[in-house]
């Protein structure tokens, strides 16, 4: 019986939510009540309930990004009580549950703050700067022809594992949001090192790192100061070793690439 379990008692919360009509609006924090919230709800479901009530009272619902709600797409964001994706480590906001909060809590919800991530509306930000970095080199040129056998390209397990770890980056932007400098180095490093480790990525290896980093700088992201807050907040656990690898790739490319 849910009613007898004290852990499942509905909660009442106070939300301080960033409201901003569009990118030209100054925006400000507004206070809302979130009442009768089940601890079993995800954070986004809690916002759904709040939005339902706002819609009934004629207030514009709070805009926030979300898609799969399974923790794999990287679309949800939210800076919750001073941390990207909230207080729990290794989780996206959609996988953060209300049982992590206490009845009566005040929760402040802000959008990712970075010059290259302009606010669309309220808590929704434009992360297409990441897309443009990928377009600058985060791909492998396809060799059209017959489909190769699965094991035709030998890749040692240890390298495949490392490349896969880097490939788990869901490009949510929590690294940028957490970083004091709004640096995108963890994101770029995951994408660069994933491809640099695999034979398919070797062809464009040097040009890739040069172009992706040039685009990263052009977008206006800050520089890395090796604080480590990005890796600490990353929902999929991308490690700082990738940033070291990115630095190595950059040095090697600048020293030996043909791009003068």
């Amino acid at each position: 019986m849910a009613g007898n379990n004290p852990n499942l008692k509905p909660m009442n919360l106070t939300l301080r939510v960033w409201r901003q009509k569009n990118n030209h609006d100054a925006g400000k924090l507004e206070t809302y009540k979130a009442e009768n919230i089940s601890p079993e709800m995800s954070f986004l479901e809690m916002l759904d309930v709040v939005n339902e009530n706002l819609a009934h009272t004629g207030v514009d619902p709070i805009a926030f990004d979300h898609d799969c709600r399974e923790g794999i797409c990287g679309m949800c964001s939210l800076f919750i009580n001073g941390r990207p994706h909230g207080p729990e480590t290794g989780t996206t906001t959609c996988q953060l549950h209300m049982r992590k909060f206490k009845d009566g809590d005040t929760i402040t919800i802000e959008p990712w703050r970075a010059q290259p991530f302009p606010v669309h509306k309220d808590l929704s930000v434009d992360r297409s700067a990441f897309d443009r970095i990928i377009q600058a080199g985060g791909y492998v040129s396809v060799n059209t022809g017959g489909v190769p056998d699965a094991n035709a390209i030998p890749i040692p397990k240890s390298i495949a594992d490392k490349a896969f770890d880097a490939a788990t980056c869901i490009a949510c932007g929590a690294c940028v949001a957490a970083c004091k400098n709004a640096s995108a180095m963890l994101f770029v490093s995951a994408k660069v090192s994933q491809l640099a480790m695999l034979p398919q990525g070797k062809v464009e290896r040097k040009t890739r790192v040069e172009n992706m980093l040039a685009q990263m700088d052009k977008e206006g992201f800050g520089a890395c100061t090796n604080i480590g807050s990005c890796a600490a907040e990353c929902p999929v656990g991308i490690s700082l070793e990738n940033i070291a690898m990115l630095n190595r790739e950059f040095i090697a490319a600048k020293a030996t690439s043909d791009n003068v």
């Binding site: 957490a178 990263m216 520089a223 100061t225 807050s229 600490a232 630095n247 040095i251």
Partner: protein, 226 residues
């Protein structure tokens, strides 16, 4: 822009300059500390004055003075350039932010710590380095050579309580600056591996504490025991 200027005006290029100059300045700290250990010689400053006379007149050291100056200039110049870029990357601050839950204080305040060190450096050079260049020091005869009596200037300065406080605070700032900076330099140069990174971090902490304790011991020694 040529590939060279592109490289060194990019964010990682500037960081590489920060890391190499930073490690070079660390090597200077070691030389400076070892030389200044002469202050603990109980010989009325003779060994220290011989040492400072050597440092002021040896041609190799004189050339290294300019290399060292260049090291400081590039380190500070790129720090300013990077800080401006980093500030511009987040024009609107968070209303509620808890960076202490995901990073160290010293790593987030390298600019502040560096500024404290810079202010200290200016006072330090004004008091000890500049007079050796402008002839503002008393002379003393050692082995038939007239040399600046820098020891007396040091001994007198370190009798002033606020001067001692300034030195100790600055060395604490330097220790925190190095604790993050030393290991961070290796990460920037792409050196991060399970084989040696724990050793670099351990050495960096020990280096920061030992070097700064050594420097802080000098004013404290003169203030308390001389």
């Amino acid at each position: 822009m040529s590939w060279f200027t592109k490289t060194f005006s990019s964010s990682i290029g500037r960081k590489i300059v920060m890391s190499i100059t930073g490690l070079f300045l660390c090597s200077f700290l070691v030389v400076h500390l070892i030389g200044n250990l002469q202050l603990f010689n109980n010989d009325g400053g003779q060994a220290f004055n011989v040492y400072s006379h050597f440092m002021g007149h040896n041609p190799v050291i004189r050339v290294m003075e300019f290399v060292l100056l260049a090291g400081f200039v590039f380190h500070i110049w790129d720090a300013v350039a990077l800080t401006r870029r980093n500030k511009a990357a987040r024009p609107i601050a968070y209303a509620v932010n808890h960076p202490e839950q995901n990073s160290n204080w010293s790593s987030r305040n390298m600019g502040l710590l560096g500024t404290v060190i810079l202010v200290f450096l200016i006072i330090h050079l004004y008091n000890f380095f500049l007079p050796t260049k402008t002839g503002g020091l008393d002379k003393v005869m050692i082995d038939g050579v007239m040399v600046d009596n820098l020891y007396i200037r040091v001994a007198e300065s370190f009798k002033i309580w606020w001067y001692v406080v300034l030195y100790v605070i600055s060395m604490i700032a330097l220790a925190y600056h190095l604790m993050h900076g030393f290991q961070s330099a290796f990460q920037t140069l792409g050196l991060n591996h399970k084989k040696y990174t724990p050793a670099i971090k351990g050495f960096g902490y020990a280096f920061s504490i030992i070097v700064c304790l050594g420097f802080a011991a000098m004013p404290l020694y003169f203030f308390l025991f001389k």
